[in-house]
């Protein structure tokens, strides 16, 4: 197998980092889940985290969002430690989260799900009474079902709603956890195109956990995880077939 650059926080640090994870160790009880994880997401770049099921990718994102607390290590967002910052405050500082399984609020309408996404704006911007047109340009299907309950949408529609909801808070860093999981191929392409367009038009940073190779290749950098640690990283352009074989094949 061709190992690319060794894992280090400096690996893709082309510009100042938006997010920096440093020496992170997380335990579930006595089970050591994340082992000395170092990772950097530069500003305006898309970083993809790859690895087989159960290696700790979602656990790492939950640590980034503040839903779980590491035993040791630190997480820096825009240069400041956010270890003691609650999830809602992290969201208000500009970390948008699209979790695995979408987590749409089931008994809110699509419109309400979108409006509630503006909570993340905090003091960073003016809330609007309606849904901005850019959201519907990215996800036209949502415009036709604003009054439907979020829980009644199909998986693909819910995924689009989850991304749109995160965008309503105008995030500086968008964290996407397997956005194509369980989605039909045509909608995967729509979601990919939307994410590409979001990065191109807004310049936000994206941290993506993904198994879908085509989507992985859209990222600027990748980190590969195995047994809770980062084992390979580098520019996605250099992502070799051997690495893909080892870390993406389920």
């Amino acid at each position: 197998m061709t190992r690319t650059q060794p894992a280090s926080p400096e690996a893709p640090a082309v510009t100042a980092p938006m997010l920096k994870v440093s020496g992170l160790n997380f335990f579930y009880g006595e089970s050591h889940i994340l082992r000395n994880v170092d990772m950097t997401v530069p500003k305006g770049q898309m970083v993809c985290l790859i690895g087989r099921n159960g290696v700790g990718k979602t656990t790492l994102l939950n640590n980034v969002m503040g839903l779980l607390s590491p035993r040791t290590g630190d997480i820096y967002y825009e240069g400041q430690s956010v270890l003691k910052v609650s999830p809602d405050q992290r969201a208000r500082r500009g970390i948008g989260y699209v979790p695995q399984g979408r987590e749409i609020i089931p008994r809110l309408t699509v419109k309400e799900n979108l409006i509630i996404g503006q909570e993340a704006l905090g003091d960073r911007g003016q809330k609007s009474a309606g849904v901005p047109a850019e959201i519907f340009e990215l996800f036209p299907v949502l415009e036709t079902m604003l009054s439907r309950m979020g829980g009644d949408l199909s998986g693909g529609q819910q995924q689009q709603l989850a991304i749109a909801r995160a965008l309503m808070g105008r995030p500086k860093l968008l964290v996407l956890d397997e956005p194509t999981e369980g989605i039909q191929p045509s909608i995967i392409l729509d979601i990919e195109a939307a994410v590409r367009r979001i990065i191109a038009t807004t310049g936000i940073s994206v941290l993506l956990v993904e198994q879908h190779l085509h989507f992985v290749r859209q990222a600027d950098f990748y980190y590969a995880m195995q047994k809770g640690g980062i084992v390979a990283s580098g520019p996605t352009a250099e992502l070799s077939n051997a690495v893909i074989q080892e870390f993406l094949a389920v």
Partner: protein, 390 residues
């Protein structure tokens, strides 16, 4: 016969309205938050005692004030119950989210404390409590501003608690023993106290010779409708209502969307508790006020929420009206009276006559509810569609 049925239905609906106003707060705390708050009835009891205190205050102000004290008692009852509910959420329930059995036990304990509190409360106790709050919260506030608080917290917090409790207790005992009757006499005692309805709520609206709708019950029906409209507007028409609905469905994701979930939890609990206070104020128009007042309503209120379908306000409305009407129609013997005197119907008349007492009607209603929940375990209005699985 028709007049008897109309009278029966009116009384049934008015009982349903009382049930609904009691269950409305519970529908929010239990239905939306999933917290089994066994102290809900005691929050209602606090609302009733607040009404009693306001009435006594109005008495001192004169006849004019006594006519309108209920209008001041309603918001004050809401406020007192909401503040106690807020303290309960912040002090007890917040630490027990997701642990229903512990919540149930803890709130039961709180209900016993509150019952005893209204029996024993006097000036000495209030001074002691005030002193404790001043020392405990003031002490913590000062120490939290010290740079070494995090390191010393484990030792300092129990020391402040012990010292504050000891000083407050000693002060309370001293005042109780040496302060004279005025400071040591209980405010309410263990006996029930009476709240007199304002003049305009006494009597009733007469229609024909036999039909009479008591003003107090009409007032409760109107109050219930206003509370329903208010709650519906708050939940569906305000930003805090939207946050509340979001947090109660998915707390973790709501936090990741930037919603301050702890503040929303506190507000939701305070709103539900405040509604219990309004219910307490309303039931003072129907009978006397005592420490056990809440216990008489809490089971019925839980029944309304469960039969209606947990998390469904519309379910609570229908369930309250149905349970209220059936209880009254059975208990008052109206059903036995309206049946035509045919021999073939005699067994049915005997059956309804057998259940024509308050306690037997309750037995019948419980039996019907058990049978209904076997048929529809999720209540009258269960969640439908994919939402159920999400």
């Amino acid at each position: 016969m028709i007049e008897g049925l109309i009278n029966g239905l009116f009384n049934g609906i008015s009982i349903g309205a009382v049930l609904l106003i009691v269950a409305l707060g519970l529908a929010i705390v239990f239905g939306l938050m999933g917290v089994i708050n066994l102290a809900h009835g005691e929050l209602m009891m606090l609302g009733a005692y607040t009404t009693y205190v306001v009435q006594n205050g109005a008495k001192a102000l004169g006849e004019g004030a006594l006519e309108f004290y209920i209008l001041a008692a309603l918001p004050l009852s809401f406020l007192v119950a909401a503040l106690v509910g807020l303290a309960l959420e912040r002090g007890v329930i917040r630490h027990l989210y997701g642990r229903p059995l512990e919540t149930l036990l803890a709130t039961w304990g709180v209900s016993l404390i509150l019952r005893q509190f209204v029996r024993s409360v006097n000036w000495a106790m209030i001074v002691g409590l005030g002193l404790f709050c001043l020392l405990f919260f003031g002490g913590r506030w000062i120490l939290q501003r010290q740079t070494q608080w995090e390191q010393t917290r484990r030792v300092a917090a129990p020391v402040i608690l012990a010292l504050s409790s000891a000083i407050a207790l000693a002060a309370g005992i001293l005042i109780n023993q040496n302060g004279g009757t005025a400071l040591s006499q209980p405010w309410f005692g263990a006996r029930n106290v009476d709240v007199t309805a304002p003049g305009w709520l006494r009597g009733g609206l007469s229609l024909g010779t036999t039909l009479q709708f008591p003003y107090a019950r009409l007032f409760i029906i109107v109050l219930t409708i206003l509370c329903l409209i208010g709650v519906y507007w708050f939940l569906n028409g305000t930003a805090w209502g939207l946050r509340m609905r979001s947090v109660t469905q998915n707390r973790k994701m709501s936090a990741c969307l930037g919603i301050p979930t702890d503040r929303v939890d506190a507000l939701t609990f305070a709103l539900g508790s405040g509604l219990a206070g309004i219910a307490g104020c309303a039931v003072t128009l129907l009978g006397s006020v005592g420490p056990n007042l809440g216990g008489n309503y809490i089971v019925d209120a839980f029944m309304v929420v469960v039969v209606g379908g947990v998390g469904k306000l519309v379910g609570s409305i229908v369930a309250a009206l149905v349970i209220g009407s059936i209880t009254y129609l059975l208990g008052s013997g109206t059903l036995a009276l309206i049946l035509p005197p045919a021999e073939a119907l005699q067994p049915l008349v005997d059956f309804f006559t057998f259940f024509a007492t308050t306690s037997m009607a309750k037995v019948m209603v419980f039996a019907l509810i058990i049978a209904f929940l076997q048929w529809k375990p999720a209540g009258m209005f269960p969640q439908k569609g994919r939402s159920v699985e999400v």
